[in-house]
């Protein structure tokens, strides 16, 4: 029940944080959120702690880490690239 409480509170927090995002930031917000959803990498890492893991566990763990890393690395990098474009024009002008 503790976890459910945290979940519900976090959803409300999310709504409060994100309302009124200007349309310009919709795409960066989405790709940034994408990167954050790579948080499953924690799950992938902490699942690995048992010894004598069967092959299935290692294979799934490898795939979990790989897919989560795509999100984390790709998501943050592409968001940064986009936001750099957004920021640079004012100085140019």
């Amino acid at each position: 029940m503790m976890e459910l409480t945290i979940f519900v509170l976090a959803i409300f927090l999310g709504f409060e944080l994100i309302t009124k995002v200007p349309p310009t930031l919709h795409t960066p917000l989405m790709s940034g959120a994408n990167a954050i959803s790579g948080i499953t990498i924690v799950g992938a890492l902490t699942c690995a702690y048992f010894t004598n893991s069967p092959f299935m566990a290692n294979a799934m763990g490898f795939l979990a880490i790989a897919t989560a890393s795509i999100n984390v690395v790709g998501g943050f990098m592409v968001t940064d690239r986009m936001l750099t474009m957004f920021g640079s024009k004012k100085e140019e002008k």
Binding site: I6, I18, T40, G43, L83
Partner: protein
């Protein structure tokens, strides 16, 4: 275990994520927000490595496959992030959503594969570990994650034209989906309460396969122009799947971060639905293009009185104007015309005209699609104006140039209650003194509806690819003015 240092690291990371997301919501602070979130993620990874090490003292973690996974995934992500063109951002975001969903499925399957063998003799999953809530979270994690994965792949295929972007509608669509969900429920009961370890593992994989199939079936019937809604929704799903994984692993940092992503995706979904005047349910049920197409076929009489112009005439119209508004749509992205648009805009500005860009919330194939494209072409942020702000300005504007947009400038949405578009908020370009619609043909937009704008008195069609047309116009202008 409760006071270990990595729990502190997780808590700090949660706080950083919250600040990061908050800063992502303002143009000035967005970049630092993203970097703050990245820092939080680094902290989480360090914490997780520490937790892993602390939990398996002397048992030896096999780091090789962990590192291999991180290197392979990180390289793919970095390569994609560096190489992707801004016109391809919707496809890229779709694929990233998919890999987020996939990660949740794989984590839960890895969890099962490591934990199920330790179940006490004769106990089922729900009785031996976790109870009904863990079982449910486990099943949802697999189901939502799997749907996110294949749903995103189908969305990607539609966006990149690898499969038709039409709504693919088939008989029994809803009964089949309903039946699949019932089967998933049945499998969940089997996994939690009936089967022993080996069989439960097997059935979990079957549940994952079912989720993959369901994802395809859910997104296939949704047409291309509804993709902004679909991508936002899948974005939300990838967060929810992560949160469900957090329930399974009892990890607050996973639950909170997943919930934040889920909430942000839902907000965007809601904004997109409002901008199309459609309910989320009607988008999800799919087949919009189909029904609307049928309705408008009676209405498919020829356009009368369409005036067409060439780049030379457009150049003449633009000579000495005092205000110009560009209205970009998906056609601009297809033609990759963002750079030449900016060049033309800059040229007109140098001639003393006031230049603005009107952005409809669902122009393009992803929330904020046009903003990203124009930002790539270094259009100043101040010149991009939202729908509600710019609509009163069209009346006093000399020339509006519509670039590959159709439904979002269709006045039938305002004055024809029978139109499938009725009630959708549009850009009131028809109120301007002159409207030039740069478009390859008179073909209807996604909604399959004829656009009375094309035959309006103040409208001219320029039948061409947006990039070619604007380049020629610009050359023409430079010759006459610049010489």
């Amino acid at each position: 275990m409760g006071g270990a240092w990595f729990h502190v690291a997780y808590l700090v990371a949660i706080v950083l994520f919250i600040f990061g997301i908050k800063r992502l919501g303002k143009v000035r602070t967005a970049k630092s927000g993203n970097r703050l979130a990245a820092l939080a993620m680094l902290l989480v990874v360090i914490g997780a490595v520490g937790e892993l090490d602390a939990r398996s003292p002397g048992q030896g973690v096999d780091w090789s496959w962990i590192i291999a996974g991180a290197v392979v995934g990180g390289a793919i992500g970095a390569f994609a992030a560096k190489k992707v063109q801004m016109t391809e951002m919707p496809e890229m975001v779709a694929l990233f959503n998919g890999s987020g969903g996939a990660a949740s499925v794989f984590v839960v399957l890895a969890f099962l594969a490591t934990r199920l063998p330790d179940l006490p003799e004769g106990a089922s999953l729900a009785r031996g570990m976790g109870g009904w809530d863990t079982t449910l979270a486990l099943a949802l994690s697999i189901l939502v994650g799997g749907v996110t994965l294949t749903g995103s792949v189908v969305a990607y295929a539609k966006l990149s034209g690898k499969v038709t972007s039409d709504a693919v509608v088939y008989n029994l669509q809803h009964p089949i989906n309903g039946a699949l969900i019932l089967v998933a429920l049945g499998l969940t009961v089997l996994i939690g309460w009936v089967l022993g370890p080996d069989a439960a593992m097997m059935v979990s994989v079957i549940l994952a396969l079912l989720a993959l199939g369901l994802g395809v079936l859910l997104v296939l019937p949704i047409g291309g122009a509804d993709m902004p809604v679909v991508i936002s929704l899948l974005n939300s799903y990838s967060g929810i799947a992560a949160a469900m994984t957090g329930f399974v692993l009892k990890s607050p940092v996973l639950i909170v971060s997943g919930a934040l992503v889920g909430a942000s995706g839902l907000i965007l979904t809601n904004i997109m639905c409002k901008a199309m005047n459609r309910s989320l349910l009607s988008v999800l049920l799919g087949g919009f293009g189909q029904t609307a197409g049928a309705a408008s076929s009676e209405d498919a009489r020829e356009y009368s009185d369409v005036k067409s112009v060439g780049p030379e005439e457009l150049a003449m119209m633009l000579e000495g104007v005092s205000s110009v508004i560009f209205v970009p749509g998906y056609g601009l992205a297809v033609a990759q015309a963002q750079h030449v648009t900016r060049e033309l805009g800059d040229f007109l500005e140098a001639q003393g005209a006031q230049v603005k860009y009107a952005i409809h919330p669902v122009a393009g194939r992803m929330p904020g699609h046009m903003n990203v494209l124009l930002a790539e072409a270094s259009v100043p942020y101040e010149q991009l104006v939202e729908m509600d702000e710019i609509n009163p300005e069209f009346k006093t504007t000399d020339v509006v140039i519509v670039l590959g947009a159709n439904d979002v400038v269709n006045p039938a949405a305002l004055d024809d209650p029978q139109s499938p578009l009725a009630g959708m908020p549009i850009l009131n370009v028809h109120e301007a003194r002159q409207v030039i619609v740069v478009k390859r043909s008179l073909s209807p937009g996604y909604a399959g509806v004829r656009n009375p704008l094309f035959e309006a008195d103040n409208a001219h069609m320029l039948f061409s690819d947006a990039k070619v047309a604007l380049q020629e116009t610009l050359n023409e202008l430079k010759e006459t003015v610049g010489a």
